[in-house]
C-alpha cells in the first residue's frame, strides 16, 4: 500500500462484508421457507425476506465496487484520494440508507407514503428518500474519484472504471421514474437492472480484474490494458442491444425477439474473453505473487462468470426457448450463479487481495480463504444445478402440459430441499471467508510493515 | 512480415482496380445465378453457384480490400467463418423448398 487514503477501502469492505453476511442469511431463511412454508409467515413474510436478500446483495456489491475504486485509484492515478472526508461521508449516507431500508422493510413502516414508504418495484424497493440518498452519495463518490483521476495519471484501467461507475449512477436515475403504464415501467426498469449487470457493471468488473492481473502477474501494463479494451468493447457491443432479451413478453414490439436473441447470444463473448485473459496472464506471469488466494478468486471469478452469466444465460436467451422458460426456476438458477460468479467473486477477489495490505500483514489464513472459495463455489454450482432441474421440470409441467402453478411446485419440492442444503453450505463458506480475511491465524508471523505492494 | 507499413505492403493501384473488375463480373454472376429479373425459384445447382460466387466475392474483399493477404492465416479463419455461415443458411434453404 503506497497511499494513505487507500485505507478508506477498509471501511467500505468491512460494511460490505457485514451486509454479505446479512444477504446470505436472508437467502438461507428464504430457502428454508421454500421447504417449510409456514416459517415466519406472519412475522416476516417471504416477500420481505426476499427484498432483504436482494437489496443487501446489491448494496454490498456496490460498496465493494466503491471500496475497490478507493483502493486502486490512488495507485493508478499516483496520488491520494481527493477528499477522504467526502469518502467517509458517502459511506455514512450509505449506512444510514441501508439501516433505513432494513427497518422500513421489517416493520413495514410508512406503508403507502410516497416518500418514506417502500416502493415495491423489484430490486428498487428502497423508499424514495433512500434513492435520493443513493444519488447524492453517488455524486459525492463520482466527484471524489473523478477529481483524483483527472489530477493524476490516466490509465486505461481508471478510464474504464470511471466510465462504468458513471454509468452506474446515470442508469440508476431511471429508478426514480415510475411510469403509470406498466409496460413503460418495465421497459425503464430494465434500464437500471440490465444496463447495470450486463452493461456498466461489466466495465467495473473488467477493470478490477485487469488491475488484479496487472499487480499479481507482473505482465506489462500494455498487454493488460489492450485486453481490457477488447473485453469492454465486446461487453457493450453485445450488452446494450442484448437488453432486447428482456423485451420479449412485456408488451414491447416483436422485433425485440430477434434483436434480443442475436445480441444476447453474443453476450457470452466478453465473459469468454475474460477467461482467456485471466488464464493467459497467469500463464505468462513474470512473478509469483504471495497472495495465491486472491489469484484463485480472480480465476474463479472469470470461470464462474463465464458459466453463470454466459452459458446459463445463453441456455434460455433465445426467444423460442424463453417463451417456455421465462419466469420459471431457470431464471434464478442463472441469476444465482451469474451474480456469484461475476460480481460476488470479483469483490471477494479484490478484498482478498487488498485486506492483507490494508491491515498491514502478510497474506494470512490463505488456506482457509481458499477452502472458502471451493466450499462456496461448489455449493453455488450445486444450487444452480438443483434450480436448473427444478426449472426444466417446471417448464415442462407448467408451460407445456399446463398444470397449475402450486401443483407443479409440490412436484419439484425435492429440488428445493437440495437447494436448502447447498444454501447452508454457502453460508458456511461465506463465514469462513469473512473469518479468514478479518482474523489472523494464531501464531501466524505478521509482518510489521505489511507486504510490499507488488509493483 | 513487415512491421512498418511500406508502399508494397498495400495492394497496388493496378491490383485494386483488377480486384474491382473481378468483383463486378462476379456480381453479374450473382445476378445471373440469382435470376434477378424473374420470379422462378432457384434449383440446387443455381443455389450452389450463388453460394460459390458469394464466397469468392467475400474472399476478394477480405484479401484485397481489407488487405488480409498479408496475414493468410487470418484470411483463412475469416473465410472459414463465412463459409460455415453460408453453409448453414444454404442448407436451411434446401431443407424447406
Amino acid at each position: 500500500m503506497k497511499y494513505e487514503t487507500q485505507k478508506i477501502a477498509l471501511a467500505y469492505f468491512a460494511v460490505a462484508m457485514a451486509l454479505f453476511a446479512i444477504q446470505v442469511l436472508g437467502g438461507l431463511i428464504a430457502g428454508y421457507v421454500y421447504v417449510f412454508p409456514n416459517t415466519l409467515s406472519e412475522l416476516v413474510p417471504f416477500n420481505i425476506l426476499r427484498m432483504l436478500h436482494t437489496n443487501s446483495l446489491i448494496v454490498w456489491l456496490l460498496l465493494g465496487f466503491f471500496g475497490a475504486a478507493y483502493y486502486l485509484v490512488p495507485e493508478e492515478a499516483e496520488r491520494e484520494i481527493e477528499s477522504p472526508m467526502l469518502a467517509y461521508l458517502q459511506l455514512a449516507i450509505f449506512v444510514l440508507g441501508t439501516l433505513g431500508v432494513v427497518v422500513t422493510y421489517l416493520f413495514d413502516l410508512f406503508n403507502g407514503n410516497p416518500f418514506l414508504g417502500k416502493d415495491g418495484r423489484e430490486f428498487l424497493e428502497q423508499p424514495y428518500w433512500v434513492k435520493l440518498g443513493i444519488v447524492v452519495a453517488a455524486l459525492i463518490f463520482l466527484y471524489n474519484i473523478s477529481m483524483t483521476v483527472l489530477k493524476g495519471r490516466k490509465t486505461a484501467i481508471t478510464n474504464v472504471l470511471l466510465l462504468g461507475l458513471w454509468g452506474i449512477a446515470i442508469f440508476f436515475l431511471f429508478s426514480l421514474y415510475n411510469p403509470k403504464n406498466l409496460v413503460l415501467d418495465k421497459m425503464f426498469w430494465w434500464y437500471v437492472v440490465h444496463l447495470w449487470v450486463e452493461g456498466v457493471w461489466e466495465l467495473v468488473m473488467a477493470s478490477i480484474l485487469a488491475y488484479l492481473m496487472l499487480k499479481m502477474t507482473g505482465v506489462d501494463r500494455e498487454v493488460v490494458e489492450k485486453w481490457l479494451y477488447a473485453i469492454v468493447a465486446l461487453s457493450l457491443f453485445t450488452g446494450l442491444l442484448g437488453t432486447g432479451h428482456h423485451y420479449y413478453w412485456i408488451g414491447t414490439p416483436a422485433y425485440w425477439q430477434w434483436i434480443g436473441s442475436i445480441f444476447s447470444s453474443l453476450e457470452i463473448l466478453p465473459f469468454f474473453a475474460m477467461v482467456l485473459f485471466t488464464f493467459t496472464m497467469v500463464w505468462k506471469r513474470k512473478r509469483e505473487h504471495p497472495n495465491s488466494a486472491a489469484l484463485l478468486w480472480s480465476l474463479g471469478c472469470a470461470v464462474l462468470a463465464f458459466f453463470g452469466a454466459g452459458v446459463w444465460g445463453f441456455l434460455h436467451t433465445l426467444h423460442f426457448v424463453n417463451y417456455y422458460s421465462h419466469g420459471t426456476q431457470v431464471t434464478p438458477a442463472h441469476g444465482h450463479l451469474a451474480f456469484f460468479g461475476a460480481y460476488v467473486s470479483l469483490n471477494l477477489a479484490i478484498i482478498t487481495y487488498a485486506m492483507p495490505q490494508l491491515l498491514g500483514r502478510t497474506p494470512y489464513n490463505q488456506v482457509l480463504n481458499m477452502v472458502s472459495f471451493w466450499v462456496m463455489s461448489g455449493a453455488m454450482a450445486f444450487m444452480t444445478f438443483t434450480l436448473t432441474f427444478a426449472g426444466i421440470v417446471q417448464t415442462h409441467l407448467q408451460r407445456v402440459r399446463g398444470e397449475n402453478f402450486m401443483d407443479v411446485q409440490d412436484q419439484i419440492s425435492i429440488f428445493y430441499d437440495m437447494r436448502l442444503l447447498s444454501g447452508v453450505i454457502v453460508v458456511i463458506g461465506a463465514f469462513l471467508f469473512i473469518y479468514s480475511v478479518f482474523v489472523p491465524r494464531s501464531g501466524e508471523v505478521i509482518a510489521k510493515t505489511g507486504v510490499a505492494p507488488a509493483e | 512480415m513487415s512491421k512498418t507499413p511500406t508502399k508494397s505492403y498495400y495492394p497496388s493501384r493496378r491490383a485494386l482496380i483488377l480486384t474491382w473488375a473481378v468483383l463486378m463480373a462476379l456480381t453479374i454472376g450473382t445476378m445471373l445465378a440469382g435470376r434477378v429479373t424473374t420470379v422462378t425459384t432457384l434449383g440446387p445447382g443455381l443455389l450452389a453457384v450463388l453460394f460459390l460466387v458469394t464466397w469468392a466475392k467475400a474472399g476478394l474483399i477480405l484479401r484485397q480490400y481489407l488487405n488480409l493477404r498479408t496475414v493468410p492465416a487470418a484470411a483463412d479463419v475469416m473465410m472459414f467463418l463465412i463459409a460455415l455461415m453460408l453453409v448453414v443458411v444454404t442448407s436451411l434453404y434446401m431443407l424447406a423448398r
Binding site: 413474510p45 423489484e122 409496460v183 437488453t243 423485451y247 | 513487415s2
Partner: protein, 150 residues
C-alpha cells in the same frame, strides 16, 4: 503491423462502437414507447382505479412473491393473466369477486402450504387491484404465457 499502435485509437473505437449501439438502442426505445402507448396497451383505459391498483401492488411488494408478465419472484403464481385464469373474459363480476375473496381469505394457515400475508386491504383497494390485473391482462404480450397456468 504498426510499430506504434496508439491506445487512443483502441479507446476511440470502443467509445465510438458503444455510442453506435447506444444510439440504436435509444432509437428503438423511443419506438417501443410509442408502440406500448398506441398499440400494445390500453392507454386510454389507464384510469384512476388502475393506477391506484398499481400503487397498491407496489406498496405491498407483491412482486417479491409473484411474477407479473414473468418477472418477479417465483414463489407464487403468475398474475399477468390471473384475470383470464379466473374467467374474467366470460364473467367479469364473478372473477372480480373470486379474486377479492381469495386475497381476503389469506393466510390460509394450512401446514406445509405457502402462505400469503393478509395485507388488510380496503374494499376499494381490492377493487383497484383487480382493475389493475384486468388492465394488465389485456396487454399484448406476443401470446405469452403459453397457457392459462401462467
Amino acid at each position: 503491423m504498426w510499430d506504434a499502435l496508439t491506445k487512443s485509437a483502441a479507446r476511440n473505437i470502443f467509445y465510438g462502437g458503444s455510442a453506435f449501439f447506444l444510439v440504436i438502442f435509444l432509437g428503438l426505445t423511443v419506438h417501443s414507447c410509442n408502440y406500448a402507448q398506441s398499440t400494445s396497451t390500453d392507454e386510454k383505459g389507464l384510469n384512476a382505479a388502475v393506477i391506484n391498483g398499481k400503487h397498491t401492488w407496489e406498496r405491498h411488494a407483491c412482486i417479491n412473491c409473484h411474477t407479473l408478465l414473468g418477472e418477479g419472484a417465483y414463489f407464487a403464481p403468475e398474475l399477468g393473466n390471473v384475470w383470464k385464469r379466473y374467467g374474467g373474459l366470460k364473467d367479469p363480476q364473478g372473477a372480480r369477486e373470486t379474486i377479492k375473496a381469495f386475497i381476503k381469505s389469506q393466510p390460509s394457515g394450512t401446514p406445509g402450504r405457502r402462505q400469503m400475508p393478509n395485507f388488510k386491504l380496503t374494499d376499494k383497494e381490492l377493487d383497484d387491484l383487480v382493475s389493475f390485473f384486468e388492465w394488465t391482462s389485456r396487454i399484448n404480450t406476443q401470446n405469452w404465457p403459453p397457457n392459462d397456468a401462467g
